[in-house]
Every structure is written in structure tokens, then in C-alpha cells.
């Protein structure tokens, strides 16, 4: 038994659990603000309505995505793809300018972990108390605290899962189903799945996700250059480090400004020592800056021993914000954003599909007329009801018959039978016909669709 244990210890270096110490300061406040804004949006948006719809709703069965005042139909899928590209480009841009800002303030992993940590702190106390509690034997105090924390975590995770599904199923309806125990199978599955993911990522895995699983953490360095903001320890100023009292003569002791308090290590959510240099584990949360600044203040030293800086500045060179890559990213970002905004604003809020009746090529009518029959699918993508006028353009011989008269409610899809008639003398074989659909009311929304009109071939 003991032999096996020895072998196990030799094969495995266990890292100690990270107990991040609470930190206050300007960057911590900024993160708190980011948490409130981002999670506030996440938890509140589904409850708000906009133009008669839930403000953000991905209605998969109806294949309509509502995003604030806009409705995206399957045909608008390109816009969603472009918006994703814009989001990606923004990430590149921000990374090139300010480093891992995303990781430190906006990534869901960071944001939710922060909230889970708050709950942990409310129940179990700050770092030292938590470490003591974990080391203590199981007694009433420990059981009460640990189970309270779990209740808070699980409750919050469930709320998160519920909200997530609320982006796909109208959340008020969903809330009613939860209260009445009438949830559908898929809703239950996704709710549990997302709750579990939140709990696991923010409660259990935490920094391991950033260290081992996150692809962005791996390739962000490709967007870095020597002018990118990083968090760094000023080694030239800090070393040699060592403990001292304010009264001590630092010059005599031959010490730098770092007093070796290790608070920067204690606040680090990934458990690293920033004084060892830039490390891939650093998520640039700036907790070490906040705490070090407070220590410097207490010691009456200049702040900024650990700070946001650039590699150039650290080496005593000049740092530039405007560099070619920044211009390239910014240009692409602006062009794409402007393009998408323009295109979304100029969408034609009407779609028409003309499908020829597959059963008959054409029909001969008594008065030397030829008739083709079509199924017309008309989609009113507007928020207003409309009546439509349909006409054939560039062909005076052609007559159009439609039943019933096309009139659509907001966002309604209507199917109609459309008959087109032309004299037999109009041509031979296949003929291209342009059909224009337009609203009767102002401002006119119109779309022209081409169709094939068949006449006798001989």
C-alpha cells in the first residue's frame, strides 16, 4: 500500500487549490462593473420586450431570430455570420491594443467565476478562512457553510440555465412551465446541461479552463506585439526584493521596492507569481496591480511596481498605440460594421417565391390563351400589415390572376395560387417573366422575382 502511494506521489505533482484573496481597487471595481453590466444583460434581456417581441429570442421552430428591434429570417443568416465575424475581429483588435482585456473582464468564464467566488466569500470568508475551513475536520460549522455554498451555487447555476433556455423559448412561457412542472424534454435537458456547465466551469474548474482548455488563451499571443498592453512587474525597480519596515534604510539594505509580501500571488486567480515574468496563465485581471498599489501606498512608495505596460516601455523604449496592425484591424472592423448596418437597414422587408406547378406545363384556355399556374409564397418581414400589388413588368400581353387578394399581417407567411395568362401568339417554349410585388401603402416596399412561363413548343 505504502509502496503504491509513493509511486503515485512520484508520478504526479499536485498543484495546491487556488484560494484567490479578495481585492479592492480601480481594476477590481472595473471588473465588478463589467460583471454587473454583462450578467445584467444576460439575466434581464430575455425579460424585456421590444416591439411586441421578447428583446432577444432565437425562435428556432419558427426560424426567426429577434435581436432588439430587428427580426432575422433564415434568408438573413448571412448577417448573423457577419456579426460573428465582427465579434471575432473586435476581439483581435482589442487584443492587439490592450492584450487580454477579454480574459480579465469580459469572458464568461471570468465573469461567472467572479460571481461564484463572491458567493464563496459570503459563506466561507476570505482566503485564510477558506483555507482553514478546508483543512478543518468535518464539523457542524463546516457542514453548514459548505452546504449553504452549494445551495447558492446550484441555485444560481439553475437560474443561469433557465435564462439560457429563455433565449430560445419565450422566457415568460418557460417560467410558467417551470412553476407548473410542465417542462418539455429538450427544455429540461438544455436547462440542466447549461446549469451543469456553469456550475462545473465557475465553481469547480475555474482557472483550469483558461490554462488547459481555452483556444483563445493559446493563440492570443499571435496578436501580440511589443506595443501590446501586458501586466508586468518592474523587475529593475523591484529587485532585490525583501521584507523591511518603513523605518529601515533601504539603500543600506540594498533592497529594491518589492517588499516580498506575496500578496500579488495570493490575489491571483490562476495562482501564478507575476514577478516571474509574463506567463500564459496570466489572464490579465489586474488583481495584482490593485493589491501591489495598495502596498506601495502603505509603504509610501511610488505606485506601479506591477502595472499595465508594454514590452517596449519595460525596455525603456517608446511605445506606440498606432501601429500598422491596429490600422488594419480597425479598418476591417469599421468597414464590416458599416457594411452590416447599411445592409440591415436596407433589407427589403418582403420576400416572394414563385414555384411553378409541377403537375402541368401549361393549360390551353378556350380564347387562345395559355395559362401557367404557380404557388406563390409571400413573406411580410415588416412589423406592419400590408396589402400587395402584383404586376408583370415589361410584358403587356401577360395577365395575372390571384386568389385570394394578398394581404399579410406583420411577419406573416402567406401561400397563394397565382395564375398567369398570355395569348398563344406571345411566343414559343420557355419565356422569362419578371413579376413585381409591391405594397399598396407608403413607403413602398417592393421586390421583383423572375419566373419561367411555358408556352407550346411547336
Amino acid at each position: 500500500m505504502s509502496q503504491k502511494q509513493d509511486a503515485d506521489t512520484a508520478l504526479y505533482r499536485k498543484d495546491p487549490k487556488v484560494y484567490p484573496r479578495d481585492v479592492k481597487g480601480s481594476f477590481a471595481s472595473l471588473r465588478k462593473l463589467a460583471v454587473f453590466v454583462l450578467l445584467g444583460l444576460y439575466y434581464l434581456l430575455p425579460w424585456l420586450n421590444w416591439g411586441g417581441h421578447q428583446s432577444v429570442l432565437f425562435d428556432l421552430p419558427a426560424r426567426k431570430f429577434y435581436i432588439l428591434g430587428l427580426t432575422f429570417w433564415p434568408q438573413d443568416f448571412i448577417f448573423l455570420a457577419l456579426m460573428l465575424i465582427i465579434a471575432g475581429l473586435s476581439l483581435f483588435f482589442v487584443t492587439a491594443v490592450a492584450g487580454r482585456l477579454w480574459c480579465g473582464y469580459a469572458c464568461p468564464q471570468t465573469v461567472w467565476t467572479e460571481v461564484f467566488l463572491w458567493m464563496e466569500r459570503w459563506v466561507e470568508g476570505d482566503r485564510n478562512k477558506r483555507m482553514k475551513l478546508d483543512a478543518s475536520p468535518w464539523n457542524t460549522n463546516k457542514i453548514v457553510r459548505k452546504s449553504s455554498k452549494q445551495i447558492l451555487w446550484i441555485g444560481f447555476a439553475f437560474w443561469t440555465g433557465f435564462t439560457f433556455v429563455g433565449f430560445f423559448t419565450p422566457i415568460r412561457v418557460l417560467g410558467e412551465s417551470v412553476i407548473n412542472f410542465q417542462l418539455g424534454g429538450w427544455e429540461t435537458f438544455w436547462m440542466l446541461f447549461y446549469s451543469f456547465a456553469t456550475y462545473g466551469n465557475a465553481g469547480i474548474l475555474r482557472e483550469q479552463v483558461c490554462k488547459y482548455m481555452c483556444p483563445y488563451a493559446r493563440f492570443q499571443s499571435a496578436m501580440f506585439d511589443k506595443d501590446t498592453l501586458v501586466i508586468a512587474y518592474d523587475e529593475a525597480r523591484g529587485e532585490p526584493r525583501g521584507g523591511r519596515s518603513k523605518k529601515d534604510n533601504v539603500a543600506e539594505k540594498g533592497l529594491g521596492d518589492c517588499i516580498g509580501c506575496t500578496l500579488c500571488v495570493q490575489v491571483c486567480p490562476t495562482g501564478i507569481d507575476i514577478r516571474e515574468g509574463l506567463q500564459i496563465e496570466c489572464i490579465a485581471c489586474a488583481a495584482c496591480i490593485d493589491v501591489c498599489d495598495q502596498v506601495m501606498e502603505k509603504m509610501d512608495y511610488k505606485k506601479g511596481l506591477i502595472s499595465y505596460t508594454t514590452e517596449h516601455r519595460l525596455n525603456g523604449k517608446e511605445s506606440h498605440i498606432f501601429r500598422p496592425r491596429i490600422f488594419v484591424y480597425a479598418f476591417l472592423l469599421l468597414a464590416l460594421t458599416a457594411g452590416v448596418i447599411w445592409a440591415v437597414n436596407n433589407r427589403v422587408l418582403l420576400r416572394a417565391e414563385l414555384l411553378r406547378d409541377r403537375n402541368a406545363l401549361y393549360r390551353e384556355l378556350p380564347d387562345n390563351q395559355i395559362e401557367n399556374v404557380y404557388t406563390l409564397k409571400l413573406i411580410n418581414m415588416d412589423f406592419k400589415p400590408h396589402k400587395y400589388k402584383i404586376e408583370v413588368i415589361n410584358n403587356d400581353d401577360m395577365r395575372l390572376l390571384i386568389s385570394p387578394e394578398p394581404e399579410l399581417d406583420p411577419e406573416e407567411v402567406g401561400n397563394f395560387i397565382l395564375r398567369m395568362q398570355a395569348p398563344i401568339s406571345a411566343g414559343r417554349g420557355s419565356m422569362k417573366v419578371d413579376v413585381r410585388f409591391s405594397t399598396l401603402d407608403e413607403p413602398v416596399i417592393e421586390r421583383t422575382v423572375s419566373a419561367r412561363f411555358l408556352l407550346p413548343f411547336d
Partner: protein
């Protein structure tokens, strides 16, 4: 003069990586396409998603396969990237890792940093 027989030529790590990525993604996409079109008629998809383009059956099959291949390629390549750029063998034993940073009570060496907020 010695010419290397093709059979004796060894692929570099990078060549192996990409060969595996391309091939596994292809196989996965093929399986995906089989299963997908066993269940779905491509004509249905054509009508639903891209009604402006009246393209034929074969193009639908081709495009769907190309799409699946792209997605599988992305997954394969990202996996390769994550594994190749991640910690190497021996990581769990602590090889190639920095020593665990030591921490201490700050008041021990610097008496000024001793208030409740630093505990």
C-alpha cells in the same frame, strides 16, 4: 550515390499532423454526410434555406459535404493546435513547470502590512 527510397522517407511531425487532420476530417465528414442524407432530403434543405438559388441535387450534396468537411477540419486542426501547443509529456509530474509560488503572511517581514485587510 544513395537515393532515398520513398518508403524510407519519414514524415516530419508537421507533415504527420496535417496528414492526420486532413484525413480524419475527411472520414468524419463522409460519415456525417452519409448519416445526414440518410435522414434528410437535400431538396428540402434547398427550398428552406436558399430558395433564391435553384441548384440541383448534386450541388446540394457537394456543398453539404464541403461544409461538413470544413467544420470537421476546423475541429481537427484546433484539436491538433491545442494538443501541440499545450503542456507536454511529464506535465502532471511537474516537468517543465515553474515551482509553486511561495506565499507568506506579509506582516512577518514587513510590520506595516499587518492590518485586518491584509490577513
Amino acid at each position: 550515390m544513395t537515393t532515398e527510397h520513398p518508403i524510407n522517407r519519414r514524415w516530419s511531425m508537421r507533415q504527420r499532423d496535417w496528414a492526420v487532420v486532413l484525413w480524419i476530417a475527411f472520414l468524419s465528414a463522409a460519415i456525417g454526410a452519409f448519416v445526414l442524407f440518410g435522414l434528410v432530403d437535400p431538396l428540402d434543405m434547398v427550398n428552406a434555406w436558399a430558395d433564391e438559388y435553384d441548384f440541383g441535387m448534386r450541388l446540394a450534396y457537394g456543398l453539404a459535404f464541403a461544409f461538413l468537411y470544413l467544420v470537421c477540419l476546423l475541429a481537427s486542426a484546433l484539436t491538433m493546435f491545442m494538443i501541440r501547443t499545450g503542456p507536454s509529456r511529464g506535465h502532471t509530474k511537474g516537468e517543465g513547470r515553474r515551482p509553486i509560488p511561495k506565499v507568506q503572511d506579509p506582516s512577518k517581514s514587513s510590520p506595516e502590512i499587518d492590518g485586518e485587510e491584509w490577513k
